[in-house]
């Protein structure tokens, strides 16, 4: 069962999925997430890299910028079903120059 993260009043509009074994810890996703959802973890994958982990799940908007930046196809964001139902648009723009 998937629980939509919530901290205080802030309900996550999206969720992040991480393919741990593909990650090479480049740090793009951590840097370019507009709401600073991610940080590199202290755990290792089998290649010895520190994959990211979600530190502020409630702030995720499901914009998938992490997915767009990831050179290793190791992370992506999707909108939660509630958020999808609320907004007809498939993607949220934002974060770029």
């Amino acid at each position: 069962m998937i629980v939509t993260p919530q901290v205080g009043d802030q309900v996550a509009k999206g969720r992040v999925s991480i393919v741990v074994e593909r990650c090479k810890a480049c740090g793009f996703c951590v840097e370019f997430c507009p709401t600073h959802v991610l940080a590199l973890s202290s755990a290792f994958n089998s290649k010895g890299y520190h994959p990211p982990h979600v530190v502020h799940p409630e702030k995720c908007s499901g914009c998938d910028l992490c997915g767009m930046y990831c050179p290793d196809f190791a992370i992506y964001g999707t909108k939660t079903p509630d958020a999808k139902a609320a907004s007809p648009k498939a993607q949220v723009a934002g974060g770029e120059k």
Binding site: I2, R15, V16, S17, I18, V19, V20, E21, R22, K24, A25, C26, G27, F28, E31, F32, S41, A43, K47, Y49, P51, H53, V54, P57, D64, L65, G67, M68, Y69, C70, P71, D72, F73, A74, Y76, T78, A93, E96, K97
Partner: protein, 298 residues
């Protein structure tokens, strides 16, 4: 604390990848994979029939893209992706032919083919990932390496003037010329979509980090540092004269859509010429499969 969610979501890029070949060989912080994300998004946006796409690459790090995308893909010889792509397109005009290769492959050994295909305005979508170096072979000088950079074949610093690729292909006749960096993921996706909608020779340069060689040898930090540099130093200059968008070692990066013009593509010109000269005798190549002809002897 790892937070991997087990859910039924699918990475939007996954259907375009040969997942059985992941993880790929590109280095941590290399931008090539990022360009593939933009490419995949453009394919989704453009709603192109994936069966109609043929992707051709040359040799080099970017050349490996062909092996990782789940499309009809051809990993050809060094510098010759464009002529191979030309053959594909002429034999089957229905194909959407993409050339995905690196700056060394396309502008050094492949330079002649680059300018002729642009001159002819062959309907190809060329994505040139420019990491300013020959990466796969260990970091040698490329025609695009900016002056005073250190490379393995210019250990005391380069002194050759570098190509300004948008200017080169613009002068040769390309109808769509754009440059982005791997920071500009959305704009890149949009440019690729625009190229798909356009008939003729389209050239999209993407400046990308090579943290292992170019950035490391020139003490420019890692991939992330380079992405931050792109963010800080890029200036969007849509429509800028391509002669003014050359790159320097640590300077400003002019990005944007520089050229978007109309010129009849090679096959349009060819058809017009043959129709005029041959009239009804002209039988056009359509790309339809020939009906099987049975042997008369049974």
């Amino acid at each position: 604390m790892l937070n991997v969610l087990e859910d039924n979501t699918v990475n939007p890029v996954e259907p375009f990848l040969r997942s059985d070949r992941m993880p790929h060989i590109w280095c941590p912080g290399c931008g090539i994979g990022t360009t593939v994300n933009s490419f995949a998004r453009a394919l989704i946006e453009s709603k192109i029939d994936l069966d109609s796409i043929a992707l051709v690459s040359g040799i080099g790090c970017t050349g490996r893209v062909a092996g990782y995308v789940k499309l009809d893909s051809f990993h050809t010889t060094h510098g010759r992706a464009i002529p191979f792509a030309t053959g594909l397109k002429l034999a089957n005009p229905k194909l959407n032919v993409v050339v995905y290769s690196g700056d060394g492959d396309l502008s050094a050994i492949g330079g002649n083919h680059l300018i002729h295909a642009a001159r002819r305005n062959i309907d190809l979508k060329v994505i040139c990932v420019n990491n300013l170096i020959y990466a796969m072979t260990g970091g040698q000088t490329a025609p695009t390496t900016p002056g005073h950079a250190t490379t393995s074949t210019n250990p005391y610093g380069t002194f050759e003037p570098a190509f300004n690729l948008p200017h080169l292909v613009d002068a040769a006749g390309a109808v769509y010329v754009a440059r982005w960096t791997t920071f500009h993921v959305r704009q890149l996706a949009r440019s690729i979509s625009e190229a798909f909608a356009k008939k003729g020779f389209s050239f999209i340069e993407v400046i990308s980090p090579c943290p292992t060689l170019y950035q490391r040898r020139n003490k420019m930090g890692d991939g992330l540092d380079t992405m931050k540099y792109y963010k800080e130093k890029s200036k969007v200059k849509n429509g800028a004269p391509t002669g003014e968008v050359g790159l320097t070692l640590n300077g400003e990066i002019a990005v944007g859509k520089f050229v978007d013009r109309e010129r009849p593509d090679y096959q349009t010109l060819m058809r017009a010429q043959y129709v005029e000269s041959l009239g009804e005798r002209y039988i056009e190549v359509t790309g339809e499969a020939e009906p099987e002809m049975e042997c008369a002897c049974g």
